[in-house]
Symmetry: D3
Subunit: 322 residues, 6 copies
């Protein structure tokens, strides 16, 4: 029998399968009785689970990030699917197929990395090629970069999401390059690659996805500039000659301005064509990914509309079946 994926669970479905646990809490209800609340996820999404009348023993029998086998029933509650668990037990990681729990299978990640290398090595500017190589050769960087999500909520918020977002953006850049000859394609391409690298340390994603302390206090925009400066030093040492100041400045400016407006935490507005293009294309890729997910995961399956999302100040129109 095949696996029950989170995004396939329907109202009143009996559930018996393995998930990753996170954010476990032992909480009293209004009357003082304890219950266990825990997030369960696989590669298709996450669902909130509750186990009534739970003991501290159950609570302590597993850690956040563990694989757990859960038995219970799915049920729609206040517009969202939740799981009423009756049994929950830790499972040996050896027994599970990791690909069920990573939105992008390893083989897919490997392909994306190959693609990344091809695109970066396809740049014409030898300075940028050299700089890109320093990132590609940095194993610690690449491990994080291929594993990090692009956010906690919002767009590409899953392991591998950052890589997928960067590749998608770079692909778009390559395709529309001929439309805008006044844009330096190489600069925009490396900007698409590097614009969000600060997120590899802004976020923690070892077991559960969280903001790190420095992520919250400093932010990925400022952190990315430091990472770039370090790699520029390496690249110049490697090449034995400096990267033109102008080139470095233009890359930094893309990093610093890619949120596009002050109100979104951008310390600078885009002032070069590449920075302007990066800002709109980043927005395009992020919003299409995010809105598509909001539509496909909307629990309100009978309606052509998603429910109202306050952070984007609107409902989305899923449309009527043809």
């Amino acid at each position: 029998m095949s696996r029950q994926f989170v995004n396939q669970l329907g109202h009143k479905d009996a559930v018996s399968d393995v998930f990753i646990a996170s954010d476990k809490q032992l909480r009293p209800n209004r009357s003082g009785n304890l219950y266990l609340q825990v997030e369960l996820s696989d590669r298709t999404g996450a669902i909130s689970a509750r186990m009534w009348n739970a003991s501290e023993a159950v609570y302590k029998s597993f850690d956040n990030g563990d694989y757990v086998r859960v038995e219970g029933t799915a049920q729609l509650y206040q517009g969202a699917m939740q799981l009423i668990a009756t049994k929950l037990a830790r499972v040996d990681p050896q027994e599970v197929d990791e690909d069920d729990f990573t939105p992008i299978a390893q083989v897919e990640v490997d392909k994306l990395v190959v693609r990344l290398g091809e695109m970066l090595r396809g740049m014409n500017d030898p300075h940028l090629q050299n700089l890109a190589e320093c990132f590609l050769l940095d194993e610690s960087f690449m491990t994080k970069f291929t594993r990090a999500p692009a956010g906690i909520k919002n767009h590409h918020a899953y392991l591998g999401g950052l890589l997928q977002h960067a590749i998608s953006l770079m692909d778009v850049v390559q395709r529309i390059g001929p439309c805008y000859p006044q844009i330096n394609r190489d600069l925009l391409l490396i900007g698409a690659f590097l614009h969000d690298i600060g997120k590899i340390d802004e976020l923690g994603y070892d077991r559960e996805m969280v903001y790190t302390d420095q992520g919250q206090l400093i932010g990925h925009i400022v952190m990315a500039v430091g990472m770039l400066e370090e790699k520029v030093r390496e690249a110049e040492k490697l090449a034995g000659e400096p990267i033109p100041e102008e080139t470095v400045l233009r890359i930094k400016h893309m990093l610093v301005s890619h949120h596009g407006e002050y109100q979104f935490g951008s310390p600078k507005l885009p002032m070069t064509l590449e920075a302007v293009a990066l800002c709109f294309l980043d927005n395009l890729d992020a919003k299409i990914n995010a809105f598509d997910l909001l539509m496909s995961e909307d629990p309100n399956v009978d309606s052509p509309w998603t429910h109202y999302h306050p952070n984007i100040n609107r409902k989305l129109y899923k449309g009527k079946p043809a």
Copy 2:
């Protein structure tokens, strides 16, 4: 001897060539003496000219929209080039080469129109093909659509600019289509074609480019919906069957929401993937065109920066020569 184009005039250059006149005014200076002020343009841009101690006779010797031969001297004044005219006389349209005065030569317009037809006929949805055909067959519409600018100021603000903007946007849509399979490419393509059609009547561009009364009181967004409704009726009559209501609704929604935010006069926020994509890509195409122009026309040739532009709240970085 070849023509002196507006964008080639340098400080102290002697000028003797033909331009289109617009916005002529006979004005007194502080001391009460009359001078003539007039905008002169060719396909590369426009320049403000003044003729000191001008008489009413000169003022009445030509109309806005006429070709005039001007003699005088170019000079940099308060950061902008202007022309001090000493002679100015009407010229017979027969004597001029029209292509010097249209940013896009007729042969180029013809190519763009062919391109437009190809792209629209390449759509898979027969309803949309049929609808598009009704626009293409409407001579009065096409005459305006291929001649109109995309604005008075800002982006693509020249004859043929609207067509060029639409084609450029449609080209981008076709290229990035494969990156976003969740987007209905045909819908987005026809959205790119139609989003600004209201501008053919929002603007007047017969002799000079102005806002029409209905353009200012109603606006191209609302006007475009009326044009679409009319063509939908035609297309349905032609095909003998209705276009699905859902399809028409989704196109209208793209028209109505493509400014993206209430503060930019958008009565609705984008609520479908196609509307979201159209909004960002329209912005990309418009801003790249506009900023590129601000940079290339910046009179401050010695500085890597343009002067400050209040409407975009920033200077732009033109960069240093390599």
Copy 3:
């Protein structure tokens, strides 16, 4: 014995009367037991009802929009009155007095329609009279116009509310006409009549009040312009002569700008005296109606203050009994 109206129900009152059902839902509570939730309304307002331990049989025994007889108890819960139902059964529409369920009795609606005709026929401008007549003669239009609410929430949010709002506004226009001779009273009067007509299709109000798909995607402002254009064509055919372009433009402009500010979804700011006046008077009539309702329906009867309403960013002062 007289009817128990919704707005007269007090804490712990036993209830046994007929209401209109809407938005019925069969929902599990935290423990997984099903309960029925349903909105009950009559002409004085709406109340949320719950029936514990409800079966699917009960849920299926009536439809949204049906009349149902309900037995149970009213109770104040978290600042709002709700009804705990113990019995609920469908009732034959023949047995009920429709006037108990429409905020405005039919006889009252009839009077308002007469009033509408009188005011419109009292205009001096024959073009406007003719145009108005085309609306009055359109039975399908009038059926919707006299039945539609003016909104889902906010002001005049009940069947007949749109008509009542229009009449109230037209009444104000007639009264203050002499104060502002520089305003064209006829134009303002027809603007008051037509400004919200888009709502007859923006909203659905057959059984329950909802936004239609086109209402959400296009909006009543843009929709109203299309309705007006159609009627202008009819009126011109009827009269055998065109309505002056200027007149049509000024009416359209009132429709398009009556929300007054971009942030409220107005694609244009008011630029004529009539548009300015319409905007302020519409706001006056809407806000007085809305705030008056918030005060009179505030469940917090012991306090001189209503509770805080986030959408208007304030509490309202009901005052102290004299």
Copy 4:
């Protein structure tokens, strides 16, 4: 021969008439030569005048606020009419007809004051009647109230404008009273009377119209509350009984909230029906007066549009001649 009023001066008209001088300045031009600049006004408006090569003697020969006879020529300069003066001499106030210099003739003011008394004495609430009487009996107050403008720029910005604005607003209140029975008409009427009384000391208007120091540092809203408190004490002493606290509170609240939004310097948002109504009606009366003036005084007589007014972020549509 009849007087040449400011609003009748056309381009190139020879001028020889008497005006009130204000804001006189002796200024050097770029080359260091002195010229005299001075505002000239009569009851129809104001015009800026310049006298080239003026001496200090001329400058000292009159004071701001004096009547001066001016000879010269009117001329359109940068979209505004100005006057090039060749002669300028002080005139004895005895020789002029004061009514030429006050927008509202004294006989008209007298009528308005009678009207004010009638409306206030027509209130049903004896407390409010008594309070109003204390204002009407205060000669010093009434002198200022009947003479003050309602602003320096914007609406009703002329001597007598405050009175005219108050009466106009009170008239509207009386007319629409029957439309809104839930509003306390007496409260709203006295609110219309008192809402701007702080302006009698916020502005100075003895010779020229200026903001006073306390006007700028404290503002008419806060100042009005102090005036009201003083009159409440007087009224209570006079009547020998207190005005109900609730009544005073509601009047104060109208004064304090009538600007409607924080961004317009309103320390409170309107929270009673009377305050809400006052805010919209005040806005209506002020904007109709202001926009009407912008249209009728627009120097651009050939265009259906006024020029762009940055403070209202729009042009206004004057329309085409029928």
Copy 5:
């Protein structure tokens, strides 16, 4: 045995102690059973308590503001500590130690009052000294001023908070005086003393802390100006000579502008150096007090971060134990 203070209660602690009751409510739960909800406080903070299956007898056995002895258990519920009460009975005020219930012990208040007098009498300007004396001598004023909180929520929201905030601010003013010789230290000092005095009547704090009606309708800023005007009259009578108008104006301006921006309900922006300084220092003192409290009272003791506070749009960083 020593007292159990609110801020020391931990999850599952048995509680048996005396608190002040406020905001008592008898409410039905979803199933219609009644429970009692009441706020309990002492000088260290407040906690929400619930007593299940409460009778009306219990509800009526005490009033808001009474001392009550409570038995029950503390428990963490949805991120906040609450108290499940099993017994609750009124206690004679004689039996309690008042200092346990006032955040600032009386002896501490007395010291602050002495400090206040010293600082005010240390001013060099005799007019200001005299004016200050009139406030200090007004017993009714001083009783309120030393007892009032500085707010309901936010900063210094406890009895005595207003006094503490004023003294803290005055202390800062005295310390940094020498850094800014261009600021009139006496003016700034009396501004620091008076800026929030309107709060003594804007708030009620007899038994529970609430906004008064006039507090909500008029606001402490406008109310403070009236209080100042009254004391100026007294001081002038006392001294037999007027306080310079300029001085009074500058104090009023500080009161009127100390919120610094229109959006915070400030009718005027700071336009003198003293008003500018007061605004920033008031903000500093208020925010340090408020944020410090948010951190120290954050229930999330294991995290270096407080939870997200929507009103300040951020989390706060408490930091990691050294």
Copy 6:
């Protein structure tokens, strides 16, 4: 005879003295004649000068940043003092007294540097002492830090202004330290020292004060973080032990958040007590300096008000002479 300082020049004063030239431009007037425009400054301020009918020879006879002897006349033009020059010649730097041209004399700078060292060495945290020492020992840094202005316009916009602003802020921090024991005084002190160090490279101030390219594209906030990181590495090498990560994080956070709000280009909001305090005190020091200057330099000497300053959206009240 003593020097004529810029801030002492009055209308019609004959001028013959030495100034620093900057921003020289040779410009045609409307009629095409050339004139020279140049900024002249000394330590008390700057004045714009014009020399009519200037030749290219004069223009080339000096460079921006040179000392020039100027003869001519001061004159008030459009509310600002300007200088009409008749003669202008380069002067040997040897002949001038440098202290006349630096707002802070060298001896004063030396004192401030001593003061800086004392305050930093007075910190209790050895890590912070060590870090500070690395900055103090870096000659290249200190040369720039003691010479840089704190801005181009706005506050402390003169050579030495950055140092003066830092010292003033640190002084305030030390004085109010005892008022807020919950604030880490050492952290706040080093934050006050470092918060604006990015300005040493954001601005160029060798001859004239300008924004550098990286200053405009990256900004001092992001640049400061890079400087800090470098010095942290040095300090850790020097001390042979790491500075606690928490400490570095808290300093970085102060740099990154000190603009306080997103709209002012702050990528993060202040989330620690030290960051909150730094933001308000920085604002206090900057605004008092800036507003004080606007008042003392206001050319409108007869008025108690400065003219309107659009960037701060207000006039300032200078007050009346006692």
